[in-house]
Symmetry: C2
Subunit: 160 residues, 2 copies
DNA sequence: CACAACTAAGTTGCGCACAATTAAATGAGG
DNA sequence: CCTCATTTAATTGTGCGCAACTTAGTTGTG
């Protein structure tokens, strides 16, 4: 799969080393984020993925099918089903079969889940501070990451 | 997460939304990388973390203690021990107690492990192509990610 | 020398991510 | 109406990442 060089590539070996470093840096940053979120969310008893699921529900408090949450977070039922069960076990959400479509399971916040929102409010600022990035850097980074993800997804099976 | 293009935003609420998006984008990109690497490494029978461990050994073929590999990859024995056992099971590496320090376990490539290097050579180019990033973008991204990781690590327990 | 402190690997337990499979419900076409 | 492909969750199995703990070997200090 030799493609026309999109650039005057400097040197093969040089270029070939770069990618690991990018994927590696990416993984390292993601894990570092994980550590910071772990600290910030410990009091709430949430993991970062659980926090993301709660964010989805806090933003759109109407009951949502698992499918919708999965599309928002790019996760499938293999990940979400046990995660949501744990949130249910913690009393933060309730799951029930939809009446209209019995295939669908709708998830809604319990009162405890809604109440947790207040305690989660200071979290984002804590994270922003921890990143130490300027607003401009953050925007640059996000733009690059989104382009990168789009390219990688396209290079793969296409959809998923 | 679908968000409107950030525009004028020295606003608190706006700022507080940004962070999720960055961590989220980061995770999404890392997982997208995972998918591409999965495809590229399938023939080799390696996962991406296993590939990273092999890279460390290919770059420095002398036997290395688990500790050294862990420092290179930022992984602890809880992750590395089973991973290296799987590589050993695949016949790619051998592990043995160090003579000088009986606490240490040194890992070295087997002949099969060395031979695999040849088959892994085309992988990086495939990844570079899939990213679709220019060299300049890649360098910018990497620099930002490393700064970010440093900041996040510092904001955490300090060491780990 | 004895003993505490430290270090390197390994083990266990939990949660996440993903592939593959299963089960149940829905919808479209004959 | 009945069959069949599709859709939605859940389940199973594998591997990673990390915290907490264990085991064994090493080092420092009195």
């Amino acid at each position: 799969m030799t493609t026309p060089p999109p650039f005057p590539l400097p040197d093969d070996a040089e270029l070939l080393r770069l990618d690991h470093q990018i994927c590696f840096s990416l993984n390292a940053a993601a894990r570092a984020f994980g550590g910071v979120y772990r600290d910030a969310l410990k009091d709430l008893g949430l993991t970062y993925p659980q926090y993301l699921a709660m964010l989805v529900l806090w933003e759109e408090p109407d009951p949502q099918p698992v499918k919708a949450i999965g599309e928002r977070l790019r996760l499938d039922s293999g990940t979400l089903s046990p995660l949501l069960k744990r949130l249910e076990g913690a009393g933060l959400v309730a799951r029930e079969r939809s009446a209209e479509d019995e295939r669908s399971v709708v998830v809604r916040l319990t009162e405890a889940g809604e109440a947790l929102r207040e305690r989660a409010l200071p979290v984002p600022r804590r994270i922003v501070t921890a990143t130490g990035l300027s607003l401009e850097e953050a925007l640059t980074l996000r733009a690059l990451l989104e382009r990168l993800t789009g390219n990688l997804d396209a290079a793969q099976g296409g959809g998923r």
